[in-house]
Symmetry: C2
Subunit: 124 residues, 2 copies
Amino acid sequence: MRVQQIFDPSTLRYDAAGLVPCIAQEEGTGDVLMMAWMNAEAVERTLSTGRITYWSRSRSALWIKGESSGHVQELVDLRIDCDRDCLLAIVQQTGPACHTNRKTCFFTAVRDGEETELMGPDPV
Amino acid sequence: MRVQQIFDPSTLRYDAAGLVPCIAQEEGTGDVLMMAWMNAEAVERTLSTGRITYWSRSRSALWIKGESSGHVQELVDLRIDCDRDCLLAIVQQTGPACHTNRKTCFFTAVRDGEETELMGPDPV
């Protein structure tokens, strides 16, 4: 059954700080790149501009991903989970998503009780 | 460069409630299935049992995924993000991951300002 209704960002279930986690997944590869936070305005701007915009908890400011680094994320599709308290953004990623210059923030694996880095930083 | 060190769940950066978000991604398809929360004990049990164990915020109890539904998640690989405040679990999922009986919790897309369901519940 196909259920459609107008999307209103205020209907998401934000936490006490007014934020909802958003997972960024790369189109095509399916790689999970990062998880960051959005407030209602960031959700609106992401949809209206097509450029992933988070809320930076450290800077307490809107954070257009890649604005300074050039490593932008273009929105392909935005998904809402069943509880309306988590988002999944399918994106086209330019350059590495991680601030460490790796493709994904999830570059460390726990195997046999040890942490192992799966990839190094991209060459600059 | 391959950096290895003993993994200690207490070194993750938990929020004020002692929790860290964990994204479950299906091995093979790469589908993002759900996001839920873990405390340090849930992380330890997930690693020691190989069965994904979350912390249920509504029940305030450990939640062995699929314990009642049979829709278990077997751990394939656990990843830590660069900030150590988010986990990515690569899993083998039995049955639907979502409590609505859909494969993934992210079954609603926002397209042209409207919410659209991408899939219905699995046949029972």
